[in-house]
Amino acid sequence: MEYLKAFVVGGLICVVGQIILDTTKLTPAHILVIFVTAGVVLGGLGLYEPLVKFGGAGATVPLPGFGYSLAKGAMEGAKSKGIIGAFTGGLEATAGGVAAAIIFGYIMALVADPKTKN
């Protein structure tokens, strides 16, 4: 059941992205920015939390979940450490993913070469 919920919630979030891609001239880069910002805003308003409770990874794995984590981290930081926490909280909460992207990106660039499409 948990997996089904994750599948449906995650799938639906991606469908929203696909509809925007196909009906507008926006690029995937635009979609990513819109989704992460939407996640931050919804997270800040407390509207994303219920979706995470319901969908689990289906809500946290898509980029709005990344935005939600940023917002949640910033708000928790603000609560515990004040203004400094508002600055550090977001990145603290998401540091794992960002750091992983940097190091794995670099390693992949070292070991792999791009292949042409056909």
């Binding site: 891609l21 001239k25 690029t27 995937p28 791009p114 292949k115 042409t116 499409k117 056909n118």
Partner: protein, 339 residues
Amino acid sequence: MAIKRIGTRTVKLENPPSILSTYTIVGPKEGEGPLREYFDEILEDDLWGQESWEKSESKIQEETIKSAIANAGLATKDIDYLLSGDLLNQIITSGYTARQISVPFFGLYGACSTMSQSLSLGSMLIDGGFADKVVCATSSHFSTAERQYRFPLEYGNQRSFSAQWTVTGAGATVLSSSGNGPYITYVTTGKIIDPGIKDVNNMGAAMAPAAMDTLINHFKDTGFSPSDYDLIITGDLGIVGKNIVLELMAKEGYDLKGIYTDCGVEIFNNIEQDTHSGGSGCGCAATVFNGYIYKEMLKGTLNRVLLMATGALHSPVITQQGESIPGIAHAVTIDVNKG
């Protein structure tokens, strides 16, 4: 007194330069397309033993030019001018190619219109008495164009149906003041026409009005009608652009059905090879002309052809600033007779 000009935009070449030889090299995907038998060389690997796509493209252009010169029974010292261009910033492919082929060199930028641009200027140099042997060449490479204009190769994006596929390949033509043809007989130079299209995934629509403008003026200047040609072929308008030209030219009173097609439509099996609207890039018109068209003219199946390579003269910088895509098309008449 410009005695060779006719009408407003056309030059009638008094002593039409003859094509002595051509050569084409294409990448593996083009080599699987419907025109494969017309290409002189098909690469198995589009990196061709080089360290980068850019170096590979330069090698492709260089080998194409050298082989075209050799096919004409000439040596590089016999060549008065090399006219070439490509899509990359500062036309580095052509510059680095010319570094290897030590002949007087004019680098051209006409985006994908470069093949007919170089043929236009090369013909005029010869007919003007400034040169006896001129090489006209151009190239493009899918992987160099993708990284300059679009996304990294390993980025997982979807391509829109109006998008086109940059041809990996180069074509070169050796023009001479003497020879047995086919000859370049007329040159109609395009103006920039910008219909205000901003969608870089819809180049065909952005360039189609430029092609129509050149074509209509060519007919007016020369007195030709579509039926005077065995083939009228644009460079890389793709399926979308080709349909626009057919429809709007009919409205202008020119029925092009059965005579007109587009190199980008012909070079790939667009459905099977998943190239969407068709091929594009300088190499598209260059390989189709120097491969398919030239060889069919030698066989005698085509006697008079109008080649009209089309270019979109934009860059990612200026389109990101919100500018639209200016189009251009240059036409050259290639005739097995001297006109």
